[in-house]
């Protein structure tokens, strides 16, 4: 398992150089970014390779992947849409907004609320999440790393359609 090392030797070396030799484990997060970018999610093999690079047990790297919600341990869609459904958002109608989003994408709300669900064409993964720190601008969502705020159902349709058109899934 040296796929990442072979493909990104310079990037990995640059990351490792930031940390003292006996603290290589500190490089786990940035190395996992590379893995997730390469495979779309953190594959077990990639986790083992990262563990090998920093010299810890694969289980320890797996714990990191499991802890952070932005690392995925399973294939996700080309775009990940996260709708905040915490209390302040719910008070401003995010539940109804989420209902609409599920209907629009043809997804099961229960699954979306329990770990997320991906459309059959693999274009979008929808997740219901807690607090993205934009309570005053609810309902809101995050697509990949971009925020969209003060949304209506129509806004959702438009944003999704534009996004899919851009990536030729529309």
């Amino acid at each position: 398992m040296t796929q990442l090392l072979e493909k990104y030797p310079a990037e990995i070396e640059k990351i490792l150089d930031k940390y003292p030799p006996d603290r290589k484990r500190s490089a786990v997060l940035p190395l996992l970014y590379i893995a997730q970018k390469e495979y779309g999610y953190c594959t077990p093999d990639a986790i083992r390779e990262v563990a090998g690079i920093v010299g810890v047990e694969p289980t320890e790297v797996e714990s990191v992947v499991g802890f952070y919600t932005l690392f995925y341990d399973h294939p996700v869609g080309e775009h990940v849409v996260q709708i905040c459904n915490d209390l302040p958002c719910a008070l401003r109608g995010s539940e109804q907004f989420l209902d609409h989003a599920c209907k629009k994408l043809g997804l099961d709300k229960h699954k979306v609320e329990h770990g997320g669900q991906t459309t059959t064409d693999g274009s979008v993964t929808l997740e219901s999440v807690v607090c993205l720190g934009a309570c005053d601008k609810a309902p809101m969502m995050q697509i990949d790393l971009e925020y969209f705020e003060r949304l209506s159902n129509e806004d959702f349709d438009r944003i999704i359609e534009e996004m899919l058109a851009k990536s030729n899934h529309g």
Binding site: P44, I47, R48, V56, E57, P58, T59, E60, V61, E62, S63, G66, F67
Partner: protein
């Protein structure tokens, strides 16, 4: 004693050492603060919140630094606004703790209500039921009801294999992390971790192979719920159905104390061992055992066991009566007066070996007995072994442990845990071997020498310390510079390790047999095989570290009673001389042919065994012996602690204890041995006649002491009684030098390796007659010795 600090638990004063946490301070008063994640053998983490208590601290006058006093001249107490975790909060002078008031009770109820939101109601089929801290604490501290919606319970995998032997029930897990922390802090094998977080957090492993640490079974003991179970025990019995019998592990020389959970089967009415658990002995194994000891008990009920005596008739071994077999044995031993040789294995008890030696001395009139496998240096350990009062669990700053030519993890696994902990407390480990071992991780100095040069290295260290008065001239030649040249260890490292030894307050030298030299060649003991133990003995004598507690030699013996069998034979004057023209050969508990060796030619061969081994197949008479679980006896461990084990299950077939068979032979030979009615009687004679074994009568061996930290039945860390030591902590016998005060050094010229020299390596999980009977352990077993990695070849 460390600084004592006064604290008040529920208004009762207790003085405890600085650094003690509230939970332990309360324990001193007999006050149990409920815990789940806290375990006295692990570092506190304060994760489960079960131990919340109300804490008050003295108000201090900032100007004077003195406590403020109230109208009654008592210190004013500022009570914390929030409850604090008793397991992570160290006590402070004048601290007040309330563990049972309404606020605390409310918190305990709330925490338990949370823990139970997703805990399944499968107590009726749970292995832990009856000895479960969650059950017990819910009864004592929990709410009688829940406000949680039953439909919101999580439904998770109930049979998730973490490895070959350990299963996780994800629903039962309460995320206390005791198992993860054990793997990390105690076993140093970080193959368990948390996955996800919050309500979905679960234990998992991604390691390859998964959870198959040498110590994995211990996590099922410390798990405070039934989340971790073993393939061996799960769903086989309820804890209260079992009878708990104190025993001693027979798989290595550590001598871990065990509790055998036994039950009479409803199916075939046979007694069987259902579970092996550690029995607390803070001087030996604390509360840990390795997986081989835990799962290696199945040989006691193996279908392959011998159940009747066998006698060779018309070339075939055929079943015979005891009467017939014993008469035949005695007849052959009697006729050939003087031309008999005995071999005795080092797994048998002290009683067996003692009586065997006595049978030869008084009945057969010869002293030609050898213990098998042959070991070198048992006489030196008898003389200069670690002094009485030695406790590896107490080693710390000022102690140096030199480990030479041995792999502690593979040959005495629990010593690895204990020595690692000693290193963490400040002891310095010098690990010398021709290859890397796990102990190198904890070493202050790792010395990697060329195969076969271990003896020269030890003399190099001795040279660096001082010259060694009795052998000054010889040692003088082994300067660090010269030894560096011979061994390949850099001179600076030899000097540095020598400096550590020179400055050591206490020194223990642990030696193994991982070297290339044969201990016996053509029936003769060799100097080459003995050179290393002699060098180690010279080192402890020359540096003044013999005959004191926490000082001296410790050998990684191959089996559970190597030292005891040697001592018993020596007490009977047994001496090995090469044999020829033999009329009879009497072998007890040893399988030389199965180990690839040849037997001396003999007209008649008697084998006393558990199984029809390769050696037994060649015998003229085979006598069926009992396993350790079916009889009483004692073993002497590597630290020379004599420990007693008890009969736990009924004998299989007509098999009898080794000492009893030997007694029958003796009586048939006309010896007046009627006073050996029990093994206790034999041990009483050993205690009375063998000077070093004075004070090892059964009653003395059965003495128990109060253990700290307590993990038995009177606390909340474990809900059952299996840890309780009710069988005795044993007696560590004095070393020879403690008895006679005489020590001497002897010189054996260090052997020189050849280019072909290869290491003899022992591994815990090699196939063997006994462990092969445990089906559950098969995935762990390995066929051939793994080619040792990173061996420094040389010569």
């Amino acid at each position: 004693m460390a600084d004592l600090i006064n604290v008040y638990i529920n208004e009762v004063l207790v003085s405890v050492p600085k650094g003690t946490v509230i939970v332990d301070a309360a324990k001193k008063l007999g006050v149990n603060i409920p815990v789940f994640c806290y375990h006295p053998k692990l570092k506190p983490v304060g994760m489960c919140r079960m131990c919340l208590v109300e804490v008050g601290r003295r108000k201090i006058d900032r100007a004077t630094g003195q406590p403020l006093l109230d109208a009654n001249n008592q210190p004013e107490i500022a009570w914390g606004l929030k409850l604090e975790t008793g397991c992570t909060t160290p006590i402070e002078e004048g601290m007040q703790v309330r563990t049972q008031n309404e606020v605390v009770k409310k918190a305990q109820k709330d925490v338990l209500e949370f823990l139970l939101t997703s805990h399944p109601l499968d107590c009726p089929v749970c292995d832990k039921g009856g000895e479960c801290p969650l059950q017990n604490l819910t009864l004592q501290f929990g709410p009688g009801t829940t406000r949680f919606d039953y439909n919101d319970k999580q439904h998770l995998d109930k049979h998730y294999p973490l490895g070959d032997i350990i299963f996780l029930d994800k629903e039962r897990c309460i995320q206390c992390a005791r198992c993860i922390r054990f793997q990390d802090e105690v076993a140093d094998d970080r193959v368990l971790g948390f996955y996800e977080r919050g309500r979905t957090m679960q234990i998992d492993t991604l390691s390859e192979p998964g959870f198959d640490s040498k110590f994995s079974g211990n996590t099922t003991d410390i798990c405070p719920v039934g989340a971790l179970t073993t393939r061996d025990f799960r769903f086989r019995a309820r804890p209260w159905e079992m009878t708990h019998v104190p025993s001693i592990c027979t798989h290595c020389a550590v001598g871990c104390n065990l509790t055998l959970g036994t039950r009479r089967s409803a199916r075939d009415r046979q007694w069987e061992i259902l579970r092996v658990m550690p029995r607390q002995n803070e001087d030996v194994n604390e509360i840990w055992i390795c997986d081989k000891g835990r799962f290696g008990h199945h040989f006691t009920r193996s279908q392959a066991r011998l159940t009747t005596p066998l006698v060779r008739k018309n070339g075939q071994l055929a079943e015979a009566t005891w009467d017939e077999a014993i008469k035949l044995v005695a007849e052959r031993l009697n006729v050939v007066y003087g031309h008999v040789v005995g071999f005795i294995g080092d797994r048998v008890s002290n009683e067996d070996a003692y009586l065997f030696g006595k049978l030869f001395r008084e009945g057969v009139k010869t002293t030609r007995i050898a213990n098998r496998p042959h070991v070198a240096g048992a006489d030196l350990v008898q003389k200069y072994g670690v002094g009485s009062g030695t406790n590896l669990g107490a080693l710390g700053k000022g102690t140096v442990v030199l480990i030479v030519a041995g792999d502690v993890e593979e040959t005495a696994p629990v010593y690895m845990l204990r020595l690692r902990a000693a290193a963490q407390r400040g002891a310095k480990l010098i690990v010398a071997n021709a290859r890397e071992t796990k102990m190198d991780r904890y070493a202050a100095n790792s010395l990697r020498y060329k195969v076969g040069t271990e003896t020269q290295l030890v003399y190099g260290l001795l040279n660096a310390v001082n010259q060694g008065s009795g052998i000054r001239d010889q040692v003088a030649a082994y300067t660090p510079a010269k030894v560096a040249e011979i061994t390949g260890v850099p001179e600076a490292e030899i000097t540095a390790a020598g400096k550590l030894i020179a400055e050591a307050k206490d020194l223990i030298v642990v030696f193994g047999d991982e070297q290339p030299y044969d201990i016996m060649v053509n029936g003769q003991y060799t100097d080459a095989g003995r050179a290393l133990p002699q060098a180690c003995a010279n080192l402890v004598v020359a540096t003044g570290h013999a005959g004191k507690a926490n000082n001296g030699l410790l050998s990684l013996w191959p089996h559970n009673n190597t030292q005891g069998v040697f001592d018993m034979l020596a007490a009977n004057g047994a001496q090995w001389t090469p044999a020829d023209g033999l009329k009879a050969l009497y072998i007890v508990g040893s399988d030389p042919i199965g180990e690839g060796q040849t037997l001396p030619k003999s007209e008649f061969t008697i084998v006393q065994e558990l199984f029809l081994t390769e050696t037994a197949k060649q015998a003229d008479v085979v006598l069926p012996a009992l396993s350790f679980a079916e009889r009483d006896g004692t073993f002497t461990n590597a630290e020379r602690r004599v420990q007693r084990y008890y009969k736990a299950i009924a004998p299989l077939g007509q098999a009898r204890a080794d000492w009893e068979i030997i007694r029958m032979v003796g009586e048939q030979l006309g010896l007046k041995w009627t006073h050996y009615l029990t093994s206790e009687g034999v041990m009483a004679e050993i205690a009375a006649t063998v000077p070093q074994y004075s004070g090892t009568e059964y009653a003395a061996l059965a003495q128990v002491t109060e253990a700290w930290p307590p993990v038995g039945s009177n606390d909340l860390y474990f809900g059952g009684t299996a840890y309780d030591n009710r069988g005795g902590v044993g007696v560590q016998i004095k070393s020879g030098v403690e008895l006679d005060g005489q020590s001497e050094m002897n010189w054996i010229e260090p052997p020189v390796p050849s280019a072909e020299s290869t290491l003899h390596v022992r591994q815990l999980n090699r196939h063997g007659t006994l462990i092969d009977q445990s089906a559950v352990y098969q995935p762990r077993l390995i066929d051939a010795p793994i080619e040792p990695a990173q061996v420094l070849k040389g010569a």
